[in-house]
């Protein structure tokens, strides 16, 4: 059974249809990249998968581990093993970083019938992952993302992912705005997480990230539909020719297939 099966997914926000029939199957152990121009629906797909309620699903279905993902609240999806690294991580003044992650981790553990971790069990683990992401320990007690630079926020997302160990990780433009050093650290954090039990969906506008996180499959999303799917070579082709190439091609194909 596939880890994630998306069938004919339609979604809208504020009356505008954004996803117009997405089909995608992701198996455990695979890394899929979803690329596409601005406004193509990449982030919407990521948000729907993490169950953001502002996006209204108007058709289709999503099975996660055989369960109906669309029937889940965001916290249920997270507890089932869905994790989205936010494109714009939210600042939450007054809640400490470590406290936040421990609360989340314990909520997930509780859902799965595991014992909660106390601070003594939690902190060594947290410190270890912080080192992996080259994060200073001072971030531990700072408020979640508050006053963090763009790169620090993205690293903090990957740190959370490393702690929560999801089955499906969705990286929503985790590379945007990062300099090459930060990108390397983030990619390294992600690559350590690759495993036969875990799948990843890497949403990106640019090809650069894929030099560091090698995908097994690349899909091109344009105007709410996946127009092309292929191997890593598709990303390189896009880098060469730009999204215009696919759009033009699609434009030519569409009437013919109509």
């Amino acid at each position: 059974m596939s880890l994630l099966q998306i069938r004919n997914l339609h979604a809208q926000v504020g009356g505008h249809e954004i996803l117009k029939g997405i089909d995608l199957t992701v198996n455990a152990g695979e890394v899929h990249s979803i690329m596409g121009p601005n406004g193509s629906g990449k982030s919407t797909l990521a948000q729907v998968l993490s169950r953001h309620q502002a996006f209204e699903v108007t058709g289709g279905e999503i099975l996660f581990n055989g369960k109906d993902l669309l029937a889940m609240k965001p916290e249920e999806a997270a507890c089932e093993g869905v994790f989205m690294a936010f494109q714009y991580p939210v600042e939450i003044p007054g809640i400490g970083n470590a406290y936040f992650v421990r609360t989340a981790l314990n909520a997930i553990r509780k859902y799965r019938g595991l014992d909660e971790l106390d601070a003594m069990d939690f902190l060594p683990l947290y410190r270890e992952k912080m080192r992996l992401l080259d994060m200073d320990e001072k971030f531990m007690n700072r408020s979640v993302n508050e006053g963090f630079s763009g790169g620090e926020k993205k690293r903090n997302e990957i740190l959370q992912m490393a702690m929560l160990e999801p089955r499906l990780a969705i990286l929503d433009e985790t590379d945007s705005g990062l300099d090459i050093d930060a990108l390397r650290i983030v990619a390294q954090g992600v690559n350590v997480m690759r495993s036969p039990e875990r799948a990843m969906i890497v949403v990106t506008h640019y090809q650069r990230l894929l030099n560091y996180i090698a995908p097994d499959f690349v899909h091109v999303l344009v105007d709410g539909r996946i127009l092309r799917s292929g191997g890593p070579e598709l990303a390189l082709e896009l880098e060469d020719k730009g999204y215009g190439w696919i759009e033009t091609e699609a434009g030519q194909i569409a009437p013919a297939s109509a």
């Binding site: 993490s50 169950r51 953001h52 309620q53 502002a54 209204e56 609240k73 965001p74 916290e75 999806a77 997270a78 507890c79 994790f83 989205m84 936010f86 991580p89 939210v90 939450i92 003044p93 007054g94 809640i95 936040f100 992650v101 609360t103 989340a104 981790l105 909520a107 997930i108 859902y111 408020s143 959370q160 929560l164």
Partner: protein, 485 residues
């Protein structure tokens, strides 16, 4: 005035009974103090919303209720009844039941030399008979504005009992050296519905009066705590506290209001600060139907510092009015006001922050911030800064914000596996935490924390879907303004 005459009648009856009952044992100075105050109360009457200081708080429900002094039908409380309100590790606990000192419920451990913690009534009696407590004669009634404030006048008219705390020069009361924490003196005011055997309980009133004098270079932590016991019968608590912080003293004061929802709680904290005195006032308002909390520090000596920190949390139809009057009367003083409000359902909050900088108070540094979180469409906050500056070399800033729980923050927490109620609780706690973070560590801090935590748990429960679903159109209620003058 004329309209109010009928209502004032019940106060007149109470006052007549009160003076008759105390006729024999009252020293002349006290009788005069009470009578003058009562006359003044009758002259001024209850304020209306036409009065600028009461613009947002309608008192008609208070005015039309005939309150009586509780006499003779006190509820019999046992120490075990106090369990929910015990501060672990307090230095002393004075309990007042319906305004009068209850020695059997109180504990006053061994105190350092020169420290008096007692009921004001017995202190006044002592002064009447023996050479007496000079501090009472010197300070009682000296600072409270009974001329203009009818509630202070009414309190003084019925002045009978409350707490008296006197900390001698140089004594760091309750301080555990090196630990950086302080043990508080807990003043617990329990308002009851009277004893069960009493005939139909009538609305009762109490006028607790506290005098706290912290001498030069001394230190103290005081918690004033207002709670209810028994059936929810309308009750009117009208407390006044005069806090005298002499030169270079350090005082931390708490006002905790969590009476039941039929309570009218009015309180005034009048602080007189001498040179280089450092006073911190924390107000936590969570209970009561109609609450008015006045905090009025006068920075009378050079180099004084005052922090007024507050959190008010209302739901249902609660009305919580915070009135601050910070008077800078000397140069080089600093004052800070930080108030956070959380309002749900149809609760109404008021923040009125007045700062007066007198002519000679050069180099004043005054700051005021009021932040509010509205959890429902019908919750309301009125926030009003009022700066009156008569000096020309000062720094005064003020700002206020009004917002809601942010949907994206809520989603971020939920997307990490944290359930919706828990996520809301975390966000409320974070907001309240700004205030709790300003409290020094120690028993009083932990107590305040538990009071707030208990209150927020109830607010975090699912709200009516209409106002909180992510689908509802985004409203932008945020406003921010900051001025420097």
């Amino acid at each position: 005035m004329a309209v109010q005459t009928a209502q004032l009648e019940s106060y007149l009856e109470s006052f007549t009974d009160f003076t008759r009952a105390h006729a024999s044992a009252t020293p002349d100075w006290l009788r005069t103090l009470r009578e003058e105050a009562f006359v003044r109360f009758c002259e001024v009457g209850f304020p209306t919303t036409r009065d600028e200081d009461w613009r947002f708080t309608n008192l008609s429900a208070l005015v039309r209720t005939p309150f009586r002094l509780v006499r003779g039908n006190r509820a019999a409380l046992a120490v075990s009844d106090l369990a929910p309100w015990i501060i672990e590790n307090a230095l002393a606990r004075l309990v007042f039941v319906d305004g009068l000192f209850a020695p059997a419920l109180s504990t006053i451990g061994s105190l350092p030399n020169g420290v008096v913690v007692d009921s004001l009534a017995s202190e006044i009696a002592r002064q009447n008979t023996a050479n007496g407590a000079a501090a009472v004669a010197k300070h009682l009634g000296r600072y409270l504005d009974t001329r203009r404030d009818p509630f202070c006048a009414l309190n003084t008219a019925f002045l009978e009992d409350g707490a008296f705390v006197h900390v001698a020069r140089g004594v760091a009361l309750g301080a555990e050296l090196g630990a950086g924490i302080a043990r508080p003196i807990h003043l617990l005011f329990v308002s009851t519905a009277g004893s069960e055997s009493a005939p139909s309980p009538t609305p009762s009133m109490t006028h607790p009066r506290n005098l706290i004098v912290v001498e030069e270079e001394a230190q103290a932590t005081i918690v004033e705590d207002y709670v209810s016991f028994g059936a929810e019968i309308p009750a009117f608590s009208n407390a006044a506290t005069e806090l005298v912080a002499r030169g270079n003293s350090t005082v931390e004061h708490f006002m905790v209001e969590r009476e039941h929802l039929q309570s009218f709680n009015f309180s005034t904290l009048r602080i007189e600060q001498a040179r280089s005195a450092n006073v911190v006032s924390h107000s936590l308002l969570s209970g009561g139907a109609l609450v008015r909390n006045n905090v009025h520090p006068v920075l009378a000596g050079e180099g004084g510092e005052c922090l007024i920190n507050g959190l008010f949390v209302g739901s249902g139809r609660q009305h919580l009015d915070n009135y601050m009057l910070v008077e800078h009367a000397s140069p080089h003083c600093a004052s800070r006001q930080f108030y956070n409000g959380i309002l749900d359902q149809r609760a109404h909050g008021v923040f009125h922050g007045r700062i007066i900088v007198h002519k000679d108070a050069q180099k004043t540094d005054a700051k005021q911030t009021n932040r509010n979180l509205l959890l429902a469409d019908d919750a309301q906050i009125d926030t009003k800064p009022q700066l009156e500056i008569y000096a020309d070399d000062v720094k005064c800033t003020h700002g206020a914000t009004i917002g809601q729980i942010e949907d994206n923050a809520l989603f971020y927490l939920r997307a990490r596996g944290i359930g919706e109620i828990e996520a809301r609780r975390l966000l409320l706690e974070a907001f309240a935490g700004e205030c709790l973070g300003r409290i020094k560590p120690g028993a009083a801090h932990d107590y305040a924390h538990s009071v707030v935590e208990a209150r927020l748990v109830s607010l975090a429960a699912p709200a009516p879907a209409s106002s909180l679903t992510a689908e509802s159109p985004e409203r932008n209620l945020d406003s921010h303004w900051e001025e420097v003058g």
